[in-house]
């Protein structure tokens, strides 16, 4: 019984376990054939090793220190958008839903309710984004996937209905709060939009696949959260119209004499404790077009427990700015066709003022709110 090549070669490199090594050495001492075989392997091993050693780098041939190499590597990889384009589009739809939910509600109500908001809204943060950024995800497949997601995971648990009402007192009863109306101005029409609740079931797998597709795989939604709910509650709102307000707005011109004031108690959103709000916020901001640094900065400095995100599509001349209204800081959004929307939060009530080409008149109305 002779020593096989595997064993002999390992013996040469001192890679045999102690017991085996001892046995092999003992055998070799008494076996000529194996000794010859060993020497052959040893000789060849030395020759080849010598040649391969020529390839080894000398001092100075590896130029960068690890620190420098890391820095230049990091600079290189700061290109998130390029990775996005390689991802399968339909998987990205799941993440598009995060934005889609924000845009669920009609602009007039000014409630692009971010499900990333938790608890009670105390301020509104308007964020401009370029819809072109989302264009790449807008196709038949993503549309399908978004619909499927909505069908499967999103439930409107109580749908809002608009009812015309006659008086402020009636509004107070139906809405559950006393709406403020401008002193001296005649209300053309008064209506209540009843409470709406939207419930989303967390589908961790789908959301994580989408995050991965977008290039944010280190933001993980734990599978513990699977099936748990995120609910958004938009309380009943009071809508007051002033001036000449047609029943149906057919054109901007027809609305020129009309000002609309909406008010409602701050919407609330509840989500599970360990829902990665800050991380998802960061992702959302990046998808909307911010750089990774900006997105991180904004998301981390945000008070997610009290701020409502209002994504506003930019481009086509939409302008947003701060405005002092009703004694608080509000946001003014203006469209090129002179349509405007002013949003502010005061004493736990969220307000929206909307009109066309009559901002000053609208602001005067607000000044006289009681």
């Amino acid at each position: 019984m002779h020593l096989n090549e595997n064993l002999l070669r390992a013996f040469i490199d001192d890679e045999l376990p102690t017991a085996q090594k001892k046995t092999a050495a003992e055998h070799l001492a008494g076996c000529e054939k194996c000794s010859v075989h060993l020497r052959e392997l040893q000789s060849r091993s030395r020759q080849v090793s010598k040649k391969l050693q020529i390839l080894a780098p000398l001092a100075g041939e590896i130029r960068s220190s690890p620190q420098i190499a890391l820095r230049s590597f990091v600079r290189q990889k700061e290109k998130p958008m390029s990775t996005l384009l390689k991802r399968p589009a339909w998987v990205a739809a799941g993440l598009a839903v995060i934005l889609a939910i924000s845009l669920l509600f009609p602009p007039v109500r000014a409630l692009a309710n971010s499900f990333l908001g938790i608890f009670r809204v105390q301020q509104v943060q308007v964020i401009s984004f370029d819809p072109a950024n989302l264009e790449q995800y807008n196709n038949a497949q993503t549309g399908e996937a978004v619909n499927a997601f909505f069908d499967k995971n999103i439930k409107v648990t109580s749908e809002s209905k608009f009812t015309q009402i006659g008086s402020q007192e009636e509004a107070a009863v139906l809405a559950g709060f006393t709406p403020r109306l401008p002193a001296g101005s005649k209300v053309s029409s008064l209506g209540i939009t009843s409470q709406e609740s939207v419930e989303m079931s967390i589908d961790a797998t789908m959301l994580n696949a989408a995050l991965e597709a977008f290039g944010y795989p280190d933001v993980k939604i734990s599978s513990e959260l699977d099936g748990q709910k995120i609910t958004a509650t938009i309380p009943a709102a009071v809508t007051a119209a002033f001036g000449e307000c047609p029943d149906q707005s057919t054109s901007p011109e027809s609305m020129a004499g009309c000002i609309v004031l909406i008010q409602l108690p701050s919407p609330t959103v509840t989500a599970p404790d360990n829902f990665p709000v800050v991380e998802l916020g960061e992702v959302m901001f990046q998808v909307m077009g911010m750089s990774p640094d900006q997105a991180a900065q904004l998301s981390q400095s945000f008070d997610w427990s009290s701020t409502l995100i209002l994504p506003v599509p930019s481009g086509q001349g939409t302008q947003t700015s701060d405005i002092l209204v009703d004694g608080v800081q509000g946001t003014l959004i203006r469209e090129p066709d002179m349509r405007y929307l002013v949003i502010w939060v005061k004493d736990g009530i969220l307000y929206g003022l909307s009109g066309i080409d009559n901002l000053q008149a609208g602001l005067r109305l607000v000044e006289s709110l009681e």
Partner: protein
């Protein structure tokens, strides 16, 4: 759609978790020197070696291994795979190219030009042999030459530890055969 489905299935069930930035940075700093050295062995050029090392860590960032895999071993496997690809597709460097790089190397290594040129040529010869060998043989020889133990090689290349001895012996035989056929100096 099928391609997308496969990717998605991979994404959903591959259980890949990217490294956090901190983990990645730590892994990079810990392993860069050794990976760059292996990269140099396969490229014999400082720029290319840097590029290859960068490509390797790029994979760590984008398509990392399963959580339970040893990262160093994985990096060795990737760098030798990528390096082997480059080796196979690289044309033989003309002598004048080696000359051009000569002075730069001299600055770095401080040796005389003649020794430089000699070393470049020798390296080209060795690489020319490796180029003719099967991938795994090259991986084994280069990693062994870089100082990895049998266990480390086995883990990195996903080979049974008990067969490393044989595989090295066979690879060395192939190398010797190709070298002697090459008509260069006979091995002493």
């Amino acid at each position: 759609m099928k391609g997308n489905l496969n990717t998605t299935i991979e994404a959903l069930f591959g259980a890949q978790t990217r490294l956090t930035e901190a983990e990645f940075d730590r892994c990079f700093l810990e392993n860069y020197a050794r990976i760059a050295a292996v990269a140099f062995r396969l490229t014999s050029d400082p720029d290319e070696a840097e590029d290859l090392a960068s490509e390797t860590f790029g994979k760590l960032w984008q398509e990392p291994p399963q959580r339970n895999e040893n990262l160093a071993g994985w990096l060795y496997r990737v760098v030798t795979n990528l390096g082997y690809n480059r080796l196979r597709s690289a044309r033989r460097r003309a002598a004048y190219e080696l000359q051009a790089g000569r002075y730069e190397w001299q600055d770095q290594t401080g040796s005389a030009p003649e020794a430089e040129a000699m070393r470049s040529q020798e390296r080209e010869q060795v690489r020319a042999i490796l180029k003719q060998m099967p991938r795994r043989d090259v991986q084994i020889l280069v990693l062994r030459s870089s100082g990895l133990s049998y266990k480390e090689i086995a883990e990195s290349l996903k080979i049974a530890p008990s067969s490393i001895g044989t595989l090295i012996a066979r690879a060395e035989r192939k190398f010797e055969l190709l070298y002697s056929r090459g008509g260069w100096d006979a091995l002493e």
